[in-house]
Symmetry: C2
Subunit: 190 residues, 2 copies
Amino acid sequence: MELLERRIKEDGKVYPGGVLKVDSFLNHQLDVRLFAEMGKEWARLFAEDNITKILTIEASGIGIACIVAQYFDVPVIFAKKSKTKNIAGDVYTSQVESYTHGRTYDIIVSKQFLHPEDRVLLIDDFLANGSALMGLVKLVEDAGATTVGAGIAVEKAFQTGGALVREYGVRVESLARVASMSEDGSIRFC
Amino acid sequence: MELLERRIKEDGKVYPGGVLKVDSFLNHQLDVRLFAEMGKEWARLFAEDNITKILTIEASGIGIACIVAQYFDVPVIFAKKSKTKNIAGDVYTSQVESYTHGRTYDIIVSKQFLHPEDRVLLIDDFLANGSALMGLVKLVEDAGATTVGAGIAVEKAFQTGGALVREYGVRVESLARVASMSEDGSIRFC
């Protein structure tokens, strides 16, 4: 998506260790006009797929997911990061490894909100190692629902997550796929 | 706002200890159509106020804030909950006491995104003891910007937060003000 790629080139910042900072429009300050254009694009790509729910993960996926949901006219569910082990039977749980924070945490969704008949579109801001996205896929599986696909704003195509999730059989539609970036600020897209 | 009050009566659940659960439409599963109606109402209430930014707090405020921002055509910023002490000079910091989790945490906003000329509308899902909202007010003060007001979905009017924040001089527009509730499920609005 040319609009998003251009915005990343203009306002994104590259930091040591392969960090791409897009917090001026994507995940700290949120440009809801841009999100609307992203929503239209995913609505076009998944137009035939009878999406019934959008599932994302807190915190930075929520804003994008809500704007996007308007174009599908469906509710959003966000998976919560849980500090405590959830042994109660009222939530679906899966594990996510965070490379940024160097730890593993549980994500949970109430069983009330995901059902076998649901056709779920996953939405997130970033796809890098794929751990968060696979965590969401597992939640949908646990509910017996169908993952129709994943809409990702920025995929770091030089990391393994995209291949991992696609090999697992999930249709991934990333609106910007970063092929490489360097600390002089240059960013190349696939 | 009658639409929201009706929804709370229909789908809200009252639990021991003054807990009102509205997670089927407000803060776990998110009804973006309802959020749009809330956005229209706040846009009407703050129509003359030249809002330039919407500020909320992660995680459950983000979805509401993003939908609402479309009616003001302004960006959203969300304050992040920080686990680490932020001594770096690049963020504004304030403290929030969480009664639910029994602890105090810092919230931060990058200095890049709040400026003295900003006229800020605060948005959050709940107002109870007022600690989160006062934390946001302080962030805006630190930036030298103006808090125009606060749009709250559900105010627990039987707790002290609303009075606290209004006495501080902030215009608070709560779309549903719960006067009392009891464990038999009955909820009375102001």
